[in-house]
């Protein structure tokens, strides 16, 4: 019984210690990550090209669909 409570104290101390250590490291790591990102932000590809491609594809399909519809209406 005595043993159980002392085990509890150990867990409480190590547990709280781990929580604080973890979040402290996370603060440091987050700071570091943010600094790196802000430094290299300009160099990161913006993927705008890909989006543009997809958009173009969609436009393309719209154009094609329109053309086909027109073609068919003139055929009849």
């Amino acid at each position: 019984m005595e043993n159980l409570l002392s085990q509890g104290f150990e867990i409480a101390i190590f547990g709280m210690g781990t929580v604080f250590m973890f979040l402290t490291l996370l603060i440091l790591a987050t700071h570091g990550m943010s600094l790196l990102v802000q430094k290299y932000e300009a160099k990161i590809p913006k993927n705008t090209a890909d989006t543009a491609t997809q958009k173009a594809d969609r436009n393309l399909l719209a154009i094609i669909s329109g053309a086909i519809a027109q073609h068919r209406s003139t055929r009849n």
Partner: protein, 376 residues
């Protein structure tokens, strides 16, 4: 004639026991809280209704091949339902405020004191002979102080499945009671001049930071507290799906259909643990008593940590946001805002409180990982 007797004997009126009546009333009371008082209705409606179903005599619903027993076996005993709910919450979480002001994470750490003091409280009760909680049970009770539903359910499904019903009801009830429990403690521990501290508007956070943060968090968990990896892993996965913006359809499903389905099943499964024999025991009263203490202590240590940090820093933190460190997202952050407005109607703290609020989620999963590793 014998058929008529059989019919009468098969009826609920003939078979029902007093404890079952009591449990059905408790189920109705949970529904009342959820519907009329809006206490965490998303979970308490399925839990309450499931609790009623589980105590209907003469039919197997929560045991054997009953449908709720099957749900529980499928996703509660295995941890799948709480993990899916947690993934969905991750997909709804915005780490922006936290990234703008990382040091407020310490508030989310401090508020976890509630978990461990509650664990010690449960063991002390065993010590003085009031209850008889094992270390694993005490740890599962402590996690109520994490103020995070899926985490509490996941931990107790691992460490103390026999207490799951009481722990879940306690966790969700106190989360709903946060607007009543926290303000007196927050007012008692702060001065007026502290409560009117205005904080700087947070900086804008870039998309890249938001994408990298869940990965950073996951790696750090993997290196330091692997026991927390299932919970935090699913949470970070949900968050990454949201922030990366290239899988909008998956993120949308994780935030809607999937989390809703998991919530319905999770709630009914928890309800299946509200069987009279298991719930109507002295231990449940102990759990309810310890639960409110856990919330109170977490609130207090969150506020005190903010005051401590102000001793060492120029950029003062309004200590009210420390109370949001318990988690109970987003209720505790709203409470911080509301108490702040009492003292200065132009001081909106909610944006600042969201940081410690989500840090509290991280903090309690780390605590959960430690408990699973060392109290299991």
């Amino acid at each position: 004639m014998s058929q008529l007797v059989a019919l009468w004997q098969s009826s609920g009126i003939f078979q029902i026991s007093i404890p079952q009546v009591a449990m059905i009333l408790i189920g109705l009371f949970l529904l009342y809280l959820a519907i009329a008082r809006r206490f965490e209705p998303l979970l308490l409606i399925p839990i309450g209704f499931g609790g009623i179903l589980s105590n209907i005599p003469g039919v197997d619903i929560a045991v054997g091949d009953g449908v709720l027993a099957q749900f529980a076996a499928m996703g509660l005993d295995t941890g799948i339902f709480p993990l899916l709910v947690f993934m969905g919450i991750g997909a709804m979480t915005d780490f922006g405020p936290l990234l703008a002001n990382p040091r407020t994470m310490l508030l989310g750490a401090a508020a976890q004191f509630g978990i461990f003091t509650t664990l010690l409280g449960a063991l002390s009760m065993t010590q003085i002979g009031v209850f008889d909680f094992s270390l694993a049970q005490a740890a599962a009770i402590g996690i109520i102080g994490g103020a995070d539903g899926p985490t509490a359910i996941y931990v107790s499904s691992v460490l103390a499945p026999e207490l799951l019903g009481a722990i879940a009801v306690s966790a969700y009830s106190y989360m709903a009671l946060v607007p009543l429990i926290q303000p007196p403690i927050m007012r008692a521990l702060t001065t007026h001049s502290e409560r009117v501290i205005q904080m700087k508007l947070p900086r804008e956070v870039s998309q890249a930071e938001k994408i990298l943060f869940p990965l950073l968090l996951l790696i750090l968990v993997a290196l330091i507290v692997p026991g927390a990896a299932p919970l935090l892993g699913m949470f970070c996965f949900g968050n990454l799906m949201k922030e990366c913006r290239v899988v909008a359809r998956l993120s949308d499903t994780a935030q809607n259909a999937l989390i809703n389905i998991a919530t319905i099943f999770l709630g009914l499964s928890v309800g299946s643990k509200l069987i009279a024999d298991e719930f109507l025991v002295g231990a449940t009263l102990g759990i309810l008593a310890l639960g409110v203490v856990a919330f109170a202590i977490g609130t207090a240590t969150g506020v005190l940590m903010a005051k401590l940090m102000n001793l060492f820093s120029e950029r003062k933190i309004n200590p009210l946001i420390g109370a949001a460190g318990v988690s109970a997202v987003p209720m505790a952050a709203r409470v911080a805002n509301k108490v702040g407005i009492e003292s200065d109607p132009d001081n909106f703290l909610i944006m600042h409180a969201m940081g410690p609020n989500v840090a509290g989620v991280i903090g309690s999963t780390i605590a959960a990982g430690v408990l699973i590793q060392f109290a299991g």
